[in-house]
């Protein structure tokens, strides 16, 4: 329970894979609809889920990360059947055909439902991904202590 007596869900999103992000946002949005207080803590590859479609990086290595792993949530590849971009195209098409929202629509809905989207400050520093590269509505960066406090008080903890 959180301080308001609501049930709560605390989730680490480590993955930047299309399929895992889809699962993460569906669970988060479902939980928010069920009246839970939801915290999503995005770290390492998961940071992509918060990004606009921009190139990042200041040093040589950071720019390389930006180049290899640039773009926003719509650039994420499925963990299987990636096929150099074909997989993403195929899954997007399949999801659309079946009336499932796109990842960026799911993220918009999460923000609308009051899901707390937090980025890991340390990953942001290492990957050279600044707050300005995130979409509006993402909360200020936090550390693991913040997440652990949320997780400790949460009824459900997930790692994706």
């Amino acid at each position: 329970m959180d301080e308001n007596g609501k049930k709560s869900l605390a989730m680490v999103v480590m993955s930047g894979d299309f399929d895992k992000l889809t699962g993460a946002f569906i669970i988060a949005n479902g939980a928010a609809a069920m009246g839970m207080d939801v915290t999503m803590f995005f770290t390492f590859w998961g940071l992509r889920a918060l990004k606009k479609n921009v190139r990042t990086g200041s040093t040589f290595f950071g720019k390389m990360v930006g180049l290899m792993y640039g773009g926003g949530i719509e650039k994420s590849h499925p963990s299987k059947f990636a096929f150099g971009g074909m997989g993403r195209w195929m899954f997007n098409k399949m999801m659309k055909n079946h009336g499932v929202q796109s990842l960026s629509e799911m993220r918009d809905l999460a923000l609308q439902l009051g899901v707390g989207l937090y980025a890991c400050q340390m990953s942001m520093d290492v990957m050279e991904i600044p707050q300005e590269s995130f979409v509006d509505g993402v909360k200020d960066p936090v550390g693991v202590g913040f997440f652990l406090l949320k997780a400790q008080n949460a009824d459900i903890q997930l790692f994706i």
């Binding site: 479902g30 609809a33 069920m34 499932v100």
Partner: protein, 80 residues
């Protein structure tokens, strides 16, 4: 039962997949007064499990959940 119940809001959830039927019901529950009833029609079979679970979690009540052909019809009462 469904013949006598007064419907305050009709929701068309046809074509929506998980978790949207549940999300839409939750977004609309405050648009009916306490004691009011939403009639929601979905085509996602998963909603048959999800909407009652949503109701249990949020303290609302599913008066009925019926399969009518390829559609699933819910009467959801706002309890609080």
């Amino acid at each position: 039962m469904s013949d006598e119940t007064k419907i305050d809001l009709e929701l068309d959830l046809k074509g929506l997949l998980c978790p949207l039927p549940m999300v839409k019901v939750s977004q609309n529950i405050n648009n009916v007064p306490v004691g009011g009833v939403i009639r929601a029609v979905a085509t996602d079979p998963g909603a048959m499990a999800d909407i009652p679970a949503w109701a249990q979690s949020t303290g609302n009540e599913v008066l009925s959940a019926d399969k009518e052909g390829s559609e699933f019809v819910f009467l959801v009462k706002r309890v609080k």
